[in-house]
Every structure is written in C-alpha cells, then in structure tokens.
C-alpha cells in the first residue's frame, strides 16, 4: 500500500473537520470552562424562591463570574429550593457571605450574586450559606405596591 494524492485530500478533510469541532468547542462554546471541573468547590444555599434561575447560570461577585449553578432541587421537608453551586477554587469567601438572586438588566438572565461578609472563617467544600435573599417576583412587587397605595388612601 502506497501513499496517494487521495490520502492527502482525505487527510486535509478530516483534519479540517476535527479543527472545526475544536473551534466550536473552545471558541464558540464553553468547553474551556466545562472541563476544568477539578478546580471548584461546592457551596449549597437554600432560597425561598429562585424565580427563573436555571442550572449553569453564573454566580457573580462584584459583577465577576466566580462560579456556576450546578444543581437546583426542591427540598420537600423545608419547602425551599436547594441550589448547589460550583465556585472557582481561586476565590474564597467568608462564612457569612450572603447570596441573592438578581437579574442582569431589565429583561436579562437571572444569576446568583455573592456579597462577601466579614467573618474570618472561609467557606469550604459542601458548606451551606445561611444568608439568602429570594428572587424578586414582579407580581408580588406590584401587589405590595397596590396594597401600600390602598393603605395610604384609607389612612387619609
């Protein structure tokens, strides 16, 4: 069996195809962040209401992405949402860090915001964050606003 010109063309074709897959994975997609899962630690938080938070939503502190939501489950005993997050090992947060579910922009995606506390102990793998704030539900907000307006009218 000898090498032929056909082999060269098929070689170019296969190499270009594999290169295209790599470009898609690394430049277009987020494979570069999907694969280095070793360098994270898990933090669990319980929220009364997560709004529209989804798995793989970013966890941000001061606007910088420091981790991603790994899993969302409903806790049937406490009737709360259990959110598991993978936080980058490079960043450490105090034990009394507070978490809140925020929205990027007016109509943007929801993410978890981390507000660092002042504790000298740091969060470790598998720790649960106590201080959490639920997502703002627009209907509740409007309801509250209307209720307050009505109450004002009565007091006058």
């Amino acid at each position: 069996m000898d090498r032929t010109l056909l082999d060269l063309w098929v070689g170019i074709f296969v190499a270009a195809g594999i290169a295209a897959l790599f470009v898609l994975a690394l430049k277009v997609g987020n494979a570069s962040t999907t694969f280095n899962t070793g360098a994270t630690y898990r933090v669990i938080a319980e929220f009364d209401n997560i709004g529209g938070l989804k798995v793989r939503a970013p966890v941000k502190s001061s606007g910088v992405v420091v981790g991603r939501v790994d899993d969302i489950q409903f806790d049937g005993k406490k009737f709360t949402a259990r959110v598991t997050m993978n936080i980058d090992k490079r960043y450490e947060f105090p034990k009394d860090t507070s978490l809140s579910i925020l929205t990027s922009g007016l109509l943007g995606e929801q993410y978890v915001g981390m507000e660092a506390g002042g504790d000298s102990d740091m969060l470790k793998d598998g720790d649960t964050v106590k201080l959490t704030q639920s997502a703002v539900v627009l209907e509740k907000l409007i309801g509250q606003f209307l209720y307050n307006k009505a109450a004002e009218g009565v007091s006058k």
Binding site: A16, G17, L24, G29, T34
Partner: protein, 265 residues
C-alpha cells in the same frame, strides 16, 4: 361511475401496498448493509477511504461557501432586529446558537443530499442498469459489501465533519459582518456567545443530529439507486426521489430530534 370508483380504489391500493413493500425492502437493505459492514471494512477499506473523498472532500467547497453566506446573513439580520432592542452584542449568541443547534446540521445535510446523495443514486442506478452489479454477483463478489458498504460509511463519516465545518465557517461569517463590517464590540460578541453556547447541550447535540442525518441521507440515496428500474428514466426518477425523500427525512428527523434534545430548556 362504479368502474371509475373501482379503478381509483385499485390505484390507491396498489400505491399503498407498493409503498409498504418498498419500506420492507429498504429496511432489509439497511440491515444488510450493517450486517456486511465488517466484511466491507476488512476487505474493502481502501474503497471506504475513496468514498470519503467523493462524498466529503468534493462537498467541501459548497459547504464552506454556503456556511459563510448563511453566517453572514444571520449576522446582518440578527443585528437589524437586535439593535431595535438595544442588545446588538447578542448577535454572536444568535449566530452561534442557530448554527450549532439547527442550521449547521440541517443545511449541510440538505446540501449533502443534493451534492453527494444524488451522485450516489445515479452511480449505483447506472451500475445496476449496465448489469455491473449482477456481474459482481456472478464473480461471487458481494455487491452490498463491495459497492454499498463503503459508500454508506464514507457518507456517514463525512457528514458530521462537514456539519462542524459549516457551523465554524458560519460563525466566522457572522463575525465578519457583525464585528468587522458593522462594528459590534468584539469582546462582547465572543463572550456573550461563549456564555450561552453549552458544549454538551448545543455542540454535542448538533453533532448527534448530523450523524443521524448522515445515516438517513446515505441510506436513502443508496437504496433509491439499488432499487431504481434499470432504465435511463428509472435512474433519473430515482435521483429526484433521493433528493426529495432525504430532504423530507432530514426536516422530519430534525423536528423529532429537537423535541427530544431541547425539551424544557
């Protein structure tokens, strides 16, 4: 009147039973290809390689050029619409998601069906019409393993690579229009894209789709060729049927696969 009615009924009955008969034959044909694949690989490995050249390499030009233009059109249209909502940076997300999820696998499979699929049908139909296939059987060479198997695997292996190239070139086309020509911020373009395109969810699912389309298109093309009446008219009809049937199969399968893959996202 009753004769006309009976004649119509007879035609419908003939069509239905003929269709079911062909479907059964097609299924047996497909199973035979799979069963004889080991033989094709052992005895005719060089031929499979040659078919990757004919199905894959020769489709490169049409795939790359159409990928580039599809990406450029997506960039233009996406920018036009998104800037009305003040989020023109999301054009990267739009281009990348449409290409990796849908347009990459589907359009490249449609192009592959008309470029490589029709050629396969015509070639095999003509081989049958000139009795080359019967001659092989006479020489105790299995035509399924010798002629059909290499073409099937050549097509199935080429299809995902072509779809990946289509998507990659398309994203580059979108980048050319949105960033280079219109002037969307480059950093925002790539970072928004990377934030929303998931490797497992979008890219791997796109590759799975293109593998399924590759199997469907090559199997239909080879079957139509093998089943073609051995006349000039029969071969031309079979070539047309290949393009029509495989395009419909691609679009139908795409709907089914999308319903399975992107449920509840």
């Amino acid at each position: 009147m009753p004769e006309h009615f009976a004649r119509g009924l007879r035609i419908v009955g003939h069509r239905v039973s003929n269709g079911i008969w062909r479907l059964g034959f097609a299924t047996r044909f497909f199973v035979t290809i799979l069963a004889r694949s080991a033989l094709s690989f052992r005895r005719f490995r060089g031929l499979t390689f040659r078919e990757i050249y004919f199905a894959g390499v020769l489709s490169l030009i049409i795939i790359i050029v159409s990928g580039l233009f599809v990406g450029m059109v997506l960039g233009l249209q996406g920018y036009e619409t998104l800037q009305k909502f003040g989020s023109s940076e999301a054009v990267g997300t739009l281009v990348a998601l449409s290409l990796t999820r849908e347009l990459g696998p589907v359009v490249s499979a449609l192009l592959f069906a008309s470029r490589a699929g029709s050629a396969m049908t015509a070639e095999i139909g003509l081989m049958k019409a000139t009795e080359q296939i019967s001659a092989m059987e006479m020489m105790a060479v299995d035509p399924i393993a010798r002629v059909i198997g290499p073409r099937f695997w050549g097509g199935v292996l080429s299809m995902p690579l072509l779809a990946a190239m289509f998507s990659a070139v398309g994203v580059f086309g979108g980048y050319l229009i949105a960033v280079v020509v219109i002037g969307v911020d480059e950093g925002a373009f790539w970072s928004q894209m990377q934030n929303s395109v998931d490797f497992r969810q979008d890219i791997v699912n796109g590759v799975i789709k293109s593998v399924v389309f590759g199997v469907a298109v090559t199997a239909i093309a080879l079957f139509e060729g093998y089943d073609a009446p051995p006349t000039a008219e029969g071969v031309s009809g079979a070539t047309t049927r290949t393009v029509v049937t495989s395009s419909l199969a691609i679009l139908g399968l795409d709907f089914v696969l999308t319903a399975f893959m992107f449920k509840g996202i």
